[in-house]
Amino acid sequence: MVLLLWASVLLPLVAAAATRLAGPRADVVALAGAALAAIPAWIMLVAAAGGERAISATTWLPAAPGLDVGLRLDALSVVMAVTVASVGLAVVAYAGGYFADEPRRPAALAGLLAFLCAMQGLVLADGYLTLLIFWEIVGALSARLIAFNRAEPAGPAGAVRAFLTTRAADVGLYVALLALYAGAGTVAFGSDRPDGELGALVGIGLVLAAMGKSAQAPLQGWLAGAMAGPTPVSALLHSATMVAAGVYLLVRSHELLTGWPLEVAGWVGAITAVAGAVIALAQQDLKRVLAASTTSQLGLMFVGAAAGGPAVAIFHLVAHAAGKAALFLAAGMFQHDREGTSLERLRGAGRDDRAAMAIFAAGALSIAAVPPFAAFWSKDAITAAAEGHAGWLALVLVAGAGGAAYLLRVARILWAPAPRGLPAVAGHRTMAGAAGTLAAASVGLGLVGAPLSALLGAELPAITVTSVALSLIAAGVGAGAILLGWRAPAAVATAARAGLYADAMLRHVVQAPVAFGSRLAARLDDRVLDGAIDATGRGTLRVAGAQWRLEERGIDAAVDATGRAALRVACAQRRLEEGAIDAAIDGLARSIGRAGAQNRRLQTGRLYEYLRDTVLGTVAVVVLIALAAVL
């Protein structure tokens, strides 16, 4: 089993390397690799169903105990692994076609496979340390894949935004890990939350990390930007697997998060579910609609994890993975047909490309929770679980209505009578096959609810009449609103189009202050700190240059004072002319005349002045020794 664990992580990596080097046949190599890599996961699923559990860990940081890295086989991890591997296989197969005309196809496919490696690591990780490692790698690979179209400005920008947002949230995971280790002395899964502030840090940190990864409000903005990446990437990373890692984290950390942290997560999820739906309704780009839908659905999973426990959340995760991936893959097909994903451009595309439309419809029906599609059952479980919590229930129902509404809106646009008939692009066959498989899965996966709950050992709330009725009414209301042409108030629509201003808020609250602080610090560094150092140097030089002045004026002044006392009466007038004014004029003339060599005026060259200063120096030494003697 240990071997299988490692195989399911490492095989995709090997496949990625092979694909990168494969050249024109990269699609075949990648497909084979992905298929091969899916096998261990399925075997493990079977074994896990038979009660098999395994852990393979090794000490990673030897300085202190408890800092192991390793993989684990248990029900949760294996379910996730199978989901990842299967969706991954389908997407890789699809991508072979999608990237057919792309000169950098090997790199793209290798990137997907490498991502699969990291994602498997994430879901199979044993302990928060390993989880953190893969968590971050997944984020980085995600950024790399988003930026695949590097010449377009949107890709790199979206990648940067995605990575920075998720990494900022990852601070939570870091802090949670630190606090957990400090409090419990271990980073293993399943320990109890430490007391006091450490426990609070653990709770807040984990929830924050999950929110970031799963694009929960108010951090959801990055997911829309991530849509700049190629569509298979969006399908695999930004709908089915990576973004679901946040839900996985919540489920995995159930014991650590019981109580208020889950409550928080639930509220976040519920609000995001509604917010995502609202945003989805306002988007003018198919992929962005789907992205917003993803945040909404992930929000539902948060509610599920908080209200209903692992089985509910994971059930919806799996069902959503299949459905949403199918939707994205269909969107990718439309994208190939019409060379774009804006809804305007796609108007009527469904009529030209019936296969894609069928796949889209299957996915959409599932996500919109139309029975008997898979997500109907899973979402219903969430509704049922939320029944005890009026606030969540209301929000879930609103989100359900919204889900029906935005999918119906998109479907109507896709199926609208086309102004121009463009043929479906050739080479769709692999793409259609892969996408179709997922669409089929999204139909059938409704059945896995019971086995899943058995496997996870967690209750799936019984479906009640109330819950079904409420779900159906909600979906119906949503669909009806679209069919009746109901329009949202303009303010809501504007806000929704702007992502409910979450981005703007982040920009003003975080980004701008940081940028300002950065510029300020840079200027401080350059002008003040460094300037001070340089000024000190210059000052020293000036002191050196001024030393002659000290000799000329300081010592002279002392002598003058003595002289004044002795000879004031007799020659006050002459002294003034000869002494002070002359000296002043001389000094001025000298300073002008030799301004260039100002620093060299230490020595006047006049011996009597040396001698006079020496006598004064002697007096000074006498005083000095006298002082030393007195002290």
Partner: protein, 177 residues
């Protein structure tokens, strides 16, 4: 010499010595300055005699007369306006130097008067001249010999500097740089 005798010689002597010394720097004639210095240091010799150091006093008179005559010659040779006919000012920075010198002198004098000096147990006569001989030939012999060497090299050096032409007559102006 008795205390009274000493006083009788000392006070006028000291007055003359200081007055001539001061006038060395108040006159505008080089030659006069040299002669005044000679007078001042000569009178100092007399003071030595009065202070019971006959040997030193005589020696001082001899040395100074020789030295100061030479100095006067030099002055006449190298000074502008040795006779002081043009009344040129040979001083600079007069006030500062005067005030500084006065301050130093006053400070030293006050310090001399106010300090509780060690006093001799017996107000005896001056040291036997023989003792000076013993000192020179005994404990301070090395210093004495060393003074001789110093004289030698002062002579050599003075000549080196003063005599412009070299010993190697052919290239008398033989300074390479």
């Amino acid at each position: 010499m008795s205390g009274l005798g000493t006083a009788l010689v000392f006070w006028p002597g000291a007055a003359i010595m200081l007055a001539t010394a001061l006038y060395v720097f108040r006159t505008s004639s080089m030659a006069r300055a040299g002669l005044l210095l000679l007078a001042s240091l000569g009178v100092e010799g007399l003071l030595f005699l009065a202070l019971a150091s006959e040997f030193l006093g005589v020696l001082q008179l001899l040395m100074m007369s020789g030295e100061m005559v030479i100095m006067t010659f030099f002055m006449i040779m190298f000074m502008p306006d040795p006779g002081g006919l043009m009344g040129m000012d040979m001083t600079h920075d007069k006030r500062r130097s005067a005030s500084l010198a006065v301050a130093v002198a006053v400070a030293l004098a006050i310090f001399a008067v106010l300090t509780d000096w060690p006093a001799a147990t017996l107000n005896g006569e001056a040291p036997d001249v023989r003792q000076i001989g013993f000192e020179v030939m005994g404990r301070s012999m090395f210093s004495f010999l060393f003074a001789g060497i110093t004289i030698l090299f002062a002579m050599v050096g003075g000549t080196m500097l003063a005599k412009h032409g070299g010993r190697f007559a052919a290239e008398a102006e033989g300074d390479l740089r």
